[in-house]
């Protein structure tokens, strides 16, 4: 049997990215939105590692490590913002944060 075609890996990455996009656009809870952003970053990592495997080059995996570092930093700061927001407004729903709306 031939190995798994490359297009299947890329399509898995695209599908996981789309699931993350649906989570960001559809949900009100800010924590679920942050979790969906992590899903999107994992989709990108899958793409990078799949190509690194196919080209037999370790650069893709080094790039993926940097993406993981970025995701960790962003999750920490995003959750810090969430805590500060909850302390002021007592809600985690995204559309109740509308003080600056016209």
């Amino acid at each position: 049997m031939p190995p798994v075609p490359m297009a299947h890996y890329v399509f898995l990455s695209a599908a996981l990215f789309t699931i993350g996009v649906i989570g960001v656009l559809t949900r009100r809870n800010v924590i679920i939105i942050l979790i969906s952003i992590e899903l999107m970053l994992n989709a990108v990592n899958i793409n990078l590692v799949a190509f690194s495997n196919q080209l037999l080059s370790v650069n893709g995996q080094a790039f993926a490590i940097f993406v993981i570092v970025d995701a960790a930093a962003e999750a920490a700061v995003g959750l810090g913002i969430l805590i500060a927001l909850f302390r002021n407004k007592e809600t985690v729903q995204a559309d109740e944060i509308n003080l600056m709306k016209w």
């Binding site: 399509f11 656009l25 559809t26 799949a50």
Partner: protein, 171 residues
């Protein structure tokens, strides 16, 4: 028989990842969503093992599952979410959101299908992936030393920023 089992592993892991992703974004309880995120991330770690990236699989489990998801669970504990779990979960404009996302998926799928042969490069880069940890370490500490140092600076800034954001004002 030689490639049936690795192929089967890919499709099983893909099912776990996509199924876990869909379940993650549809949970009403945030703790359940974080647990299903753990399932998805473990599936991704298994996929890295399938793709001969052993160091990255270990880093994924340690950092993503063991660090970021635990951070999410701590913040969910700090924030009172019982009232939020009883309210409406989907935002007001969710049909538009799902339409845009499905359009994105159709467009990506079309272009992936159209360029299927382009994913195979004719010239080989003549490299190797084994021994994996050693090669990743060589890449990080020789070729990508400057991004490595910048990444550590980014982590320092993020740590200080998160502490400042979450600190209570001592009046």
């Amino acid at each position: 028989m030689q490639t049936v089992l690795p192929n089967a592993f890919f499709y099983i892991l893909a099912g776990i990842i996509l199924g876990g992703g869909v379940i993650t974004i549809t949970r009403r309880n945030a703790v359940h969503a974080a647990i299903w995120l753990v399932v998805t991330l473990l599936g991704v770690a298994g996929l890295y093992l399938h793709l001969n990236a052993e160091f990255l699989a270990a880093v994924q489990v340690l950092v993503y599952v063991g660090g970021i998801t635990v951070l999410f669970l701590f913040v969910i504990m700090l924030v009172n979410l019982e009232k939020a779990a009883g309210e409406r979960q989907s935002s007001g404009h969710w049909p538009l959101g799902i339409t845009c996302a499905v359009l994105l998926l159709i467009e990506l799928g079309y272009f992936i299908h159209k360029g299927e042969e382009a994913f195979y490069f004719s010239e080989s880069f003549g490299g190797t992936l084994q021994p994996n940890t050693e090669l990743v370490a060589l890449a990080l500490y020789r070729d990508y030393l400057l991004p490595f140092e910048i990444a550590s600076l980014l982590l320092l800034v993020a740590m200080v920023g998160a502490v400042v954001l979450a600190k209570k004002d001592l009046k």
